[in-house]
């Protein structure tokens, strides 16, 4: 079946069975391996992508459901010149990345949050990231990174001290 959708700003047309998982389409057909599979049951959030701007577990999403809709993956959020998104910068500056396996999902859940609510408080951040597990950081620095990213985006700049 021919399915059309938008991925990271580009139109995609694929001949694919509609019951194939979106994570498999992204990784195996489009080569977008930044989306990670940690559990395959929607329990860890490592496979989070944005569907029309909302975070979803791509391991539970079938490709038939994304026809004519827009997907954003971790590969789609840096600038066209290759510069990092302010959220990515903030994650690095705040030490919010250790092994990095949860990071793409964390960054995308953060983006969905900040697109909706530019200045979230700690509780709102915890709520928005509660579906994304991380075993390395203890989460403190991830919250710091989201707060920092929020600040930078509000100021319209990605520059920050180290």
């Amino acid at each position: 079946m021919l399915i059309r959708f938008k991925c990271n700003g580009k139109a995609v047309q694929l001949d694919v069975e509609p019951e194939v998982r979106v994570i498999d389409v992204l990784r195996d057909r489009l080569g977008l391996t930044g989306t990670k599979e940690g559990c395959g049951r929607g329990e860890c959030g490592a496979c989070t992508v944005l569907l029309d701007g909302k975070p979803v577990n791509s391991c539970l999403l079938l490709v038939g459901k994304i026809a004519e809709r827009e997907i954003i993956t971790i590969e789609g959020i840096a600038g066209e010149d290759g510069s990092l998104h302010p959220i990515q910068e903030a994650f690095l500056d705040q030490g919010a990345v250790q092994c990095g396996f949860c990071t793409p999902g964390m960054v995308l859940s953060t983006k969905a949050l900040l697109d909706e609510n530019g200045a979230p408080d700690t509780e709102e951040i915890e709520e928005a990231l509660s579906g994304n597990l991380c075993r390395c950081t203890g989460y403190g620095k991830i919250v710091d990174a989201v707060l920092e990213a929020s600040k930078r985006l509000m100021q319209g700049t990605s520059h920050g001290g180290e």
């Binding site: 030490g95 092994c99 396996f101 597990l133």
Partner: protein, 769 residues
């Protein structure tokens, strides 16, 4: 110093935040096929037949491998006794045991076909507890019996000392199995050839190389292992990586096609090692002054079906069981026993969290009986420089325990409680607006001290090889056989090389671990990467620096001692403006024939101890720490809110403040999980909660407000005085949680995890008064 001690970004962070980092599952090779195993499904028995005809008939299935298809000895293991088969040939010793490997065109077909394999197993009565395993006449899980390993530490004369004690406390403490739960499940990818290459999510590539070669029955030098970007390990990606790594390589060579094996989450939990469950019986004798004069401890570890790293975990628990105290008389017996459960092995802390929980709980119980303040009793007994520890080892420096106690003591007192007992009501805690309901909340504060041996020490020879290479443009490449697992080691090594060579850290790269290209550096364990690894990098960098200084001296027509490397230049010390770019010096050095690459070794002083009593020099250094935790318990729900968590560790020297905080906070939440939330649950030898819906992994809503307070007591055996910190906060947090909860509810829990339900039960039963 320019780079050491400064906050720097993770050197490999760019690839991780952009999704470009290649984890093992991200590799793609033409013609790649996929493997999946059939597991036993019963905890104990004897295989009487395997029928894989139905599996073979499934379209897309390529091959089915059984134990007899393994060219080598079909054995893996980290330490003697190497007792674990890759595919079981006859005996089934745990339910997650692999029996048959199916190879298919897709991972999905491979899984489907694996479940279509029919294995007949004549079941045995499973041995599911330590008591059953040790019962006289019990069925032997392994030929040599059911005791994996037993060791004893004897210092002084415990029996006499107890006779002289004014007070004795005793108790038995238990902890549960914990899963590593790294976010990336175990994955490997083998590419066949005259020399085979294995890309693996793993912790110890040289260890895997040895096992793959043995099981393929080829020389080790014909196997190349490349560590893929690894999504967490915490001790867990060692045995299991050798298991699936060997399987993938054997299948790849047999089929001449690349083979990927990727565990799903359930396999990651049931089919790879866990943290040992422990039962620690502990007896402590003290004088009425609070001085502890004797401790007698028996540690019993449930090691599951195979030895894995149990021999070293047994040793480590024994050495650490008496805690960071100066006690004249100590006896510890530590034993690991086989059971028909998932095997246990290395897990961040390596047995120390289990015994620290027991030991620190009992220290509080002792203090309560004596009417001594919880921090004061630790001050009275805590190790100082020059004191002999439990193995009689004396360090003349870098024993910062008392400093960590004073750091914690200097923090403001908990506002909500008197010094003893607890208050049922409080207001304004943690800046919360609303007043809690009268009597609804209980508040408590706990303290705990911890020590953790750094490096292999008595567990094995400790050697690391590292190379440092400067290119003619002045950029630097570091190669080392230790692995980056998320802990930030690469960043630390880059900082060390940058510091020695006077270049910007952006000009330093740390290469992937490729067994073809770096020296065997031993395992990435025991908080040794910064300490032992860092020393090797420093030594290699110093040799390259010598070439650069010699060259610059020729160019400036002066003696080398008048020159320093700094800010990317060779600079005349006497005149800052006389400087040559390091790139020019490196180019000239190359054309002059001065070597710009060096391979250096760091070898820790050998451990030197008595095998029977374990008295002697065991580790090159210890990390010491003191934790404090303030909690609020909701008596209506059992819910715990951690209001404050302070973790002060003596790290010798902070190399990367950001990385240090990350290690302390991450390890702390792991300790909190062990203490409060996480538990692998068995029913009849089958794990009942092998997924993240049923296994309670801390989420962001469970995070605790850990504040790291580093103490720097220079360690002469580490680079710039540093010592590792990756493990010790796990033990500190697990222990301090138990003590804080006991303080709040007035009831001593002797088993971890202390769950919300346990707390609610205790409160309801009125145990809190």
């Amino acid at each position: 110093m320019k780079v050491i001690g400064k906050q720097v970004r993770k050197v490999d962070g760019f690839e991780l935040v952009t999704g470009r980092a290649q984890f093992a599952g991200d590799y793609q090779f033409p013609g790649m096929v996929y493997g999946a195993v059939k597991r036993a499904g019963v905890p104990a028995g004897r295989i009487t037949g395997i029928d894989h005809e139905a599996a073979r008939r499934i379209p897309g299935v390529i091959d089915v491998l059984r134990a007899e298809d393994i060219p080598g000895p079909n054995l893996i293991g980290v330490l003697p006794p190497f007792d674990q088969p890759i595919l079981s040939a006859g005996e089934v010793r745990y339910a997650g045991e692999s029996i048959v490997l199916v190879i298919a065109e897709t991972a999905e077909i491979a899984r489907q076909a694996a479940s279509a394999v029919s294995v007949s197993i004549e079941p045995y009565d499973p041995i599911l507890s330590v008591e059953d395993a040790l019962r006289p006449g019990a069925r032997k899980i392994h030929e040599q019996g059911n005791v994996t390993c037993a060791k004893r530490l004897i210092k002084g004369a415990v029996k006499t000392a107890f006779e002289n004690a004014d007070i004795i406390v005793e108790g038995t403490y238990e902890t549960s199995f914990q899963d590593h739960a790294y976010l990336e499940p175990e994955t490997v990818c083998a590419v066949p050839g005259r020399r085979i290459t294995l890309y693996a999510s793993c912790q110890s590539p040289f260890h895997i190389r040895g096992h793959v070669a043995a099981n393929l029955n080829v020389p080790a030098s014909s196997v190349r292992v490349v560590q893929a970007c690894t999504g967490g390990s915490f001790g867990g990606k060692d045995d299991v990586a050798t298991e699936i790594g060997s399987l993938a390589c054997i299948a790849a060579q047999r089929l001449n096609r690349p083979v990927m094996i990727a565990h799903d989450r359930m396999e990651s939990i049931i089919g790879s090692n866990l943290r040992h469950a422990a039962r620690v019986s502990c007896r402590t004798g003290a004088l009425s002054s609070g001085r502890i004069i004797a401790r007698e401890i028996a540690v019993m570890l449930d090691g599951g079906a195979y030895a894995s790293e149990s021999p070293f975990v047994t040793l480590k628990t024994m050495i650490h069981a008496a805690g960071p105290y100066n006690i004249e008389n100590v006896e510890v017996e530590s034993t690991t026993v086989y059971t028909n459960k998932t095997y246990c092995g290395a897990f961040r802390g390596f047995g120390v969290p289990q015994v620290t929980f027991a030991s620190e709980s009992q220290i509080d119980e002792l203090a309560d009986k004596l009417g001594i303040d919880h921090l004061e009793i630790r001050r009275i007994n805590g190790l100082k420089a020059g004191d002999p520890n439990a193995t009689g080892q004396v360090y003349e420096q870098s024993v910062g325990l008392q400093d960590t106690i004073e750091q914690i003591a200097a923090q403001p007192d908990p506002a909500h409680r008197e010094r003893s007992g607890f208050m049922e009501e409080s207001t304004g805690i943690g800046g919360e607006g609303s007043k809690p309901l009268a009597g609804r909340y209980l508040y408590g504060t706990g303290y705990a001290c911890v020590l953790q041996g750094i490096s292999n020490g008595a567990e094995g020879v400790d050697v690391t090889g590292a190379s440092v290479q400067m290119s003619q443009d002045g950029s630097v490449l570091v190669g080392i056989g230790l692995t980056e697992l998320g802990q930030g080691s690469r960043t630390v090594w880059a900082q060390i090389a940058a510091e020695v060579l006077g270049v910007d850290i952006d000009h330093v790269s740390v290469r992937l671990v490729d067994t073809d290209a770096v020296h065997d550096s031993g395992p990435t364990v025991a908080s040794r990467s910064t300490t032992v690894g860092g020393m090797a990098v420093q030594k290699a960098a110093v040799e390259v620096k010598k070439s650069l200084i010699s060259m610059a001296a020729l160019m400036m027509q002066t003696d080398g001692e008048n020159i320093e490397l700094r800010d990317g230049f060779a600079i005349l010390k006497a005149d800052d403006s006389a400087r040559i770019p390091i790139a020019s010096v490196a180019t000239a050095a190359y054309w002059t024939g001065f070597p710009l690459m060096n391979l250096a070794f760091s070898k820790a002083p050998p451990a030197n101890f008595d095998e029977d009593t374990h008295q002697g020099d065991i580790y090159i250094a210890y990390n010491y720490g003191t934790h404090r935790m303030d909690v609020r318990v909701d008596t209506m729900t059992g819910e715990v809110k951690v209001l404050k968590h302070l973790a002060s560790h003596d790290v010798g020297k902070v190399i990367n403040p950001l990385g240090l905080e990350g290690q302390v906070q991450g390890a702390s939440l792991m300790g909190y999980g062990l203490a409060h939330m996480e538990r692998i649950e068995y029913a009849d030898g089958i794990i009942r909660n092998p997924n993240f819906a049923d296994y309670a992994l801390p989420s962001i809503k469970d995070r605790i407000p850990t504040v790291s307070i580093p103490v720097e007591d220079h360690n002469p055996t580490g680079p710039y005085g540093a010592k590792g910190v990756g493990e010790p906060p796990v033990a500190g947090t697990a222990a301090v949680f138990a003590n804080a909860i006991s303080d709040a509810v007035g009831f001593r829990f002797r088993r971890l995890p202390i769950t919300r339900e346990n707390i609610l039960d205790a409160v309801k039963r009125g145990n809190h008064g």
